[in-house]
Symmetry: C5
Subunit: 355 residues, 5 copies
Amino acid sequence: MKLRKKNRRIPGESPGTLREACDIPDEKIDISVMLYNASFVEEKITHNIDEALAFEKDDVVTWINIDGIRNHKMLEKIGAKYNLHPLLLEDISCNEQRPKLDVYDEHIFIVVKMLKFDTEEKGIIDEQVSFVLGKNYVLSFQEEDKKGDVFNPNRERLKGHKGKIRKSGADYLLYTLLDTIVDNYFIILEGIGGRIEELEDDLIADPSPKRLKVLYGLKREMIYLRKSVWPLREVINKMEKGETELLLPATQIFIRDVYDHTIQVIDTVESYRDVLASMVDIYMSSISNRMNSVIKVLTIISTIFIPLTFVAGVYGMNFDYMPELKWKYGYPVVWIFMIVSVGFMLMYFKKKKWL
Amino acid sequence: MKLRKKNRRIPGESPGTLREACDIPDEKIDISVMLYNASFVEEKITHNIDEALAFEKDDVVTWINIDGIRNHKMLEKIGAKYNLHPLLLEDISCNEQRPKLDVYDEHIFIVVKMLKFDTEEKGIIDEQVSFVLGKNYVLSFQEEDKKGDVFNPNRERLKGHKGKIRKSGADYLLYTLLDTIVDNYFIILEGIGGRIEELEDDLIADPSPKRLKVLYGLKREMIYLRKSVWPLREVINKMEKGETELLLPATQIFIRDVYDHTIQVIDTVESYRDVLASMVDIYMSSISNRMNSVIKVLTIISTIFIPLTFVAGVYGMNFDYMPELKWKYGYPVVWIFMIVSVGFMLMYFKKKKWL
Amino acid sequence: MKLRKKNRRIPGESPGTLREACDIPDEKIDISVMLYNASFVEEKITHNIDEALAFEKDDVVTWINIDGIRNHKMLEKIGAKYNLHPLLLEDISCNEQRPKLDVYDEHIFIVVKMLKFDTEEKGIIDEQVSFVLGKNYVLSFQEEDKKGDVFNPNRERLKGHKGKIRKSGADYLLYTLLDTIVDNYFIILEGIGGRIEELEDDLIADPSPKRLKVLYGLKREMIYLRKSVWPLREVINKMEKGETELLLPATQIFIRDVYDHTIQVIDTVESYRDVLASMVDIYMSSISNRMNSVIKVLTIISTIFIPLTFVAGVYGMNFDYMPELKWKYGYPVVWIFMIVSVGFMLMYFKKKKWL
Amino acid sequence: MKLRKKNRRIPGESPGTLREACDIPDEKIDISVMLYNASFVEEKITHNIDEALAFEKDDVVTWINIDGIRNHKMLEKIGAKYNLHPLLLEDISCNEQRPKLDVYDEHIFIVVKMLKFDTEEKGIIDEQVSFVLGKNYVLSFQEEDKKGDVFNPNRERLKGHKGKIRKSGADYLLYTLLDTIVDNYFIILEGIGGRIEELEDDLIADPSPKRLKVLYGLKREMIYLRKSVWPLREVINKMEKGETELLLPATQIFIRDVYDHTIQVIDTVESYRDVLASMVDIYMSSISNRMNSVIKVLTIISTIFIPLTFVAGVYGMNFDYMPELKWKYGYPVVWIFMIVSVGFMLMYFKKKKWL
Amino acid sequence: MKLRKKNRRIPGESPGTLREACDIPDEKIDISVMLYNASFVEEKITHNIDEALAFEKDDVVTWINIDGIRNHKMLEKIGAKYNLHPLLLEDISCNEQRPKLDVYDEHIFIVVKMLKFDTEEKGIIDEQVSFVLGKNYVLSFQEEDKKGDVFNPNRERLKGHKGKIRKSGADYLLYTLLDTIVDNYFIILEGIGGRIEELEDDLIADPSPKRLKVLYGLKREMIYLRKSVWPLREVINKMEKGETELLLPATQIFIRDVYDHTIQVIDTVESYRDVLASMVDIYMSSISNRMNSVIKVLTIISTIFIPLTFVAGVYGMNFDYMPELKWKYGYPVVWIFMIVSVGFMLMYFKKKKWL
């Protein structure tokens, strides 16, 4: 994860202006519109916003999903049709938003972060997903222009008449989309959990600087995960508290379920942070332990051989009058003396538990 | 404790669907049904849910305890009989729930974690226990299919007419079951407390890497204990606050007692965390102290013998003109010089308190 | 302080049953009953609960103090007389309670921790003291069976007509008893403060592992003190908030004073914790500093003598053709060379501030 | 950032007195007055406060921006005209204020901190900006006497009829000014983010003391940023909560947007703090790792050569009776012995993964 | 600052008794009484409390300032005159109080801490100042018996008719006194800030144990400052919240100003704590860096000379058959070999960046 993306408004500029929609030129955008009620479902896939907005019907729930948010013409047209506030449109188009829920008169606006594991860069990437929930429509906006990957199961359920989704209103649809996103968090967390457990084993076996880098990377990921998840909790809590009439009581019970999942995600993130903090301590003391054992080897070798070398040095002196040198048993006695003192030292080290 | 078990819903799937009840095939499940009032008690043990549900009577409290939660047919039948929400059934069948209390119209749903010490793996394992409290029934769901071990004392009390349990309603039964679970926490904590005290003594006597691993293991256990206990507090607090009429005022006083115990558990967990955090410091400085003493030995030996070796080396030189070598007392004078300088060094080390 | 005492209920057992009053056989218990009003005071000391309960009078405040809580017959009799809930009796008899205040219909129940410094084991021990405050009576229960040591000054004041205690009701008596207990905390804290200051001086003078053990002991004591004091604050806060009519407004002002003292105790405990945390850092860096100075000595000695030894070694070689050896001034020139290089090294160390 | 600037009142002095306006002599001050409504806009730039105050018109919004706050004559005149409380004037003139919002009867007073990156000193500097919002006027006070740099885009928009600013009231103008300031925070944060990422790479490649200094500098900057940003949040929260009628509902929605941005700034600051805290750990263990590798080299060299030197020393002894010395193959055998033992040692180090 | 002063009540003693006024014998006390209104001001300085209390007048504000609090006769007389609660008098006389505000029926009682820098002991000392605010009087009590130093400016303003103080009531007087005290905090903080910045520079230049002691002293001072300042905030907040009618609305606005200053003090204290915490890290890693560089020197010297010494040792052996010794170029070849290997080693160190 990058510390900051460059997508900001220039200070002093007029707020709510969709200036070049965050600096990126027009793109091909993918729009999918689904109309459905209990007895009917129809989908239209197009690149043309006018066409998409014209595709409507009475007595149905309309779900417009748009992949690609930086086309300000498109945003303005949707804004005009659904009476969206300029600040809301600006929030959709800037992928720097913090998860939040804003209540407007006719609709509510929700921004959340979708998390994905980028297998190439081996890191987590986040993508902003925005929702507008109105009386009988849901608008969803995704950053990437890949065809609506993550919401595909929801689409299938709509088409396949699976579950209660077709019988329920737009609020239930919003719930299923949020639920899909939160469920994705668990997959991310499972991946991280696996990497933590792997690191744990490695850390004790081999506390090399390489491990530290992995550890640090995981810590940083948790910092950013946390930044995405905590505000999400507030968002869903606000929904559960029923600050808006757009969410029917029957849906509240499901929102409560998503809320529970969010809390679980937060709990897990916090636990991982605690575990990683402990692992730093382990790493630190593993290094110290290693150093300790290296120094012990040095000390043992030095303590044994430096005095012996001294003894050898003494009898290497060239004084004319050194009676020991003439003595027949001098040499073997010196050897015996040296072996005995080594023995004592080894005993000393044994006692100190260095060996 | 594993960082994560794999029991999750697939993102985007319909919520509240009991898909293969979390992926695990039909099992033999143990069902025990108890019917009782002040004057009457009867128990039926069966593997057949239909039989269990048919075993009923007027004017009694019904307690159905089920060991083995991943049989979705069974869950659906119970759900139909007791009018349980699909999400509630899903929560029962997935052992990944966070402790919580959900209030429904006709009943309340409680999820808690039962803790056990796994003597084989030498670690704490948790098991999800779910309760449904209705007007005159309690449903309890346990993960394992061992015969109702932990609730056996409660069963005995019911049969043996012990205490006020038989005279009270379903809410009091629920209280006794929760109380049993919370009391189990103390046993777990007592075990951990013992292990901490043991480690304390070991850590000062012998700060080897092995101890660190034990310390780290304890820290991790506390992290997960905490994750189980904190939400439990909220659950019981909600019960005490009387958010539901299913809990009679006479029972509230008992719930307050369980609440006190939960707080005590939390206090103890937090104290243990603090103690363990202090122990990391001890461990770290013990290592440093050890290193210090190793290096002192090295320094003392080197400081004494390296200069002496130099002196010996000097008189081992082969210059033709070295007057000391010819001198009769050269050799003994060198010895005296060396012994005196060793004496001075020992005094120096003494003064520095290295010896 | 022990991490846990073994005094718990067996999980699944009936709550509120005074089973063998926490496993300990009948003991001689000391009961003192005081009856007093503005014009009258009488005391009875007995071992017999029936006798104690029979000692009563109209229009007086009754204070029954019981030393020795594990006699369940006695507790049951008091319970019957004063209409105490079985859970309340259980809380009295188990010395594992967290400080708390429970409001019952006719009385309030308070559990606090009395702290004492055990001069033998050189540590703090805590003792549970329970109070029941009724309309015109106070029951106090102490763990130990030593004659009512800590409340003796209160007794004297009652007898000696000192202060306003005789003119006031049972609530004021309760206040004076609580006040006595909280004042005892200050004595404990003063003792700890002294030990911290002592350690501070020692730590800088001599950072030996022994100090660390003292430091760790103090840290642990603070952890347990904290566990006793924080809930006490809630207890007294609840009293001050006037959740019960048993505490008259005139007494509230005194309760506020105890509350202030409790906050002061907490403040002091937190400050001590902070101070101790800082001392760990000091200790750690003192060790590092010591190691640094040891290594400096090693390095200075090695850096000076190892090269010199090499030089001596060179001229100790036995090559047939070594012109320097024949040279008349070879020996003194080598000495001069060696002395000069030592000089340079000393200058280098001086510059590096190692000397 | 300096720990403290010296700009304080002397203790005991009368509050609300503009004594020499914080000790600094009269300066040239730059005043710009803008009058505008939907159809009209006029600007006057002057150094004379009387002239500025005389420049007024009916049915317009008046924006007076003053660069240079330490002229107490000027402040008194404005105070008299707009009925400002002496304490408010004192707050404007002292650049030590904490961000805050004070509600007065006729106007609200806001103090915020503007942040700038000082390219010369390579650090963040903060500047106090104060606002007074009245019924149809905004007064803004800036510390520096540089011509109104940061608000230039706002001025341009006013003149250029851009956005809805001209059609809205004084409250919307205040919003745009605050928004400009908050947007500036992002630029500062982006800069810091860049420096953190740079340091990250450097820290692993080369953990020299120089890096530590940079790290410490960043930590300190975050401490001071935090001190500026947290109270800002309260300020804007108070505005959003609508404690005053001066902010029209239509403007509230924009204030909410600024609030979101402020929260984002806080989130980022907190994340940076967490990242920097992790980096300290990295740095610490990098140092330890380096030391480890240095000591390993020492140990390997010593362990190999010290024993060999001893062997050589033994056969350098001058005993008359040393049979090995006479033996023809003595010399090559010693060499073989030495080479073999080096081989063993290398294998030992290989096994220990030191090589 | 001492960890604890010895000034406590004996546990179990009657509360509200002024026993020997905290153990210290009668002292000469300095009493100053000021009577003033808009048109009149008179001051009396005396040592006699009766005289002071007799000095009164109608339609004036009375300010009695007493230096020296441990004279219980005096306190009792004041208590009788102004109807002060015994607990209040006890709080005045014991200099161990936590800052607090107590509301009584006829007056409010405020305890705060005055901070001074003790230039002799080079540390901060605190002094307890108590205030009683009644309808038209303020009583202030200071610990020391130095003549009313800190409040002198206030006295001057009263006499000199400066500011609005003479026109306002007793509540405004109280405000000015509190304001004087809080302003003093900034002076203390400025001093500490200066010492922190000084230490910062020293720490990087020379991380000796001496610095650590200074650092630790500063940390401890912050701990105690914090203990004084946080409760002060509550005190002033309570005043601002207007819990009493004694503070007129016109004064509230000034109280809010003091509140802002208190928050600023707290912010600064917290920032200093953060800065000091970072400095510990710096110190720790500076030590490690130093150790690292010492060890590098040792390693370089050893790595270069130990192998060379070995080589010299080899050719110092006395074997009869050592062909190299006979060889004419043996000696110079050995030298060349040694010089070349030193060269390689230097290159190796260069590559490792140790040189």
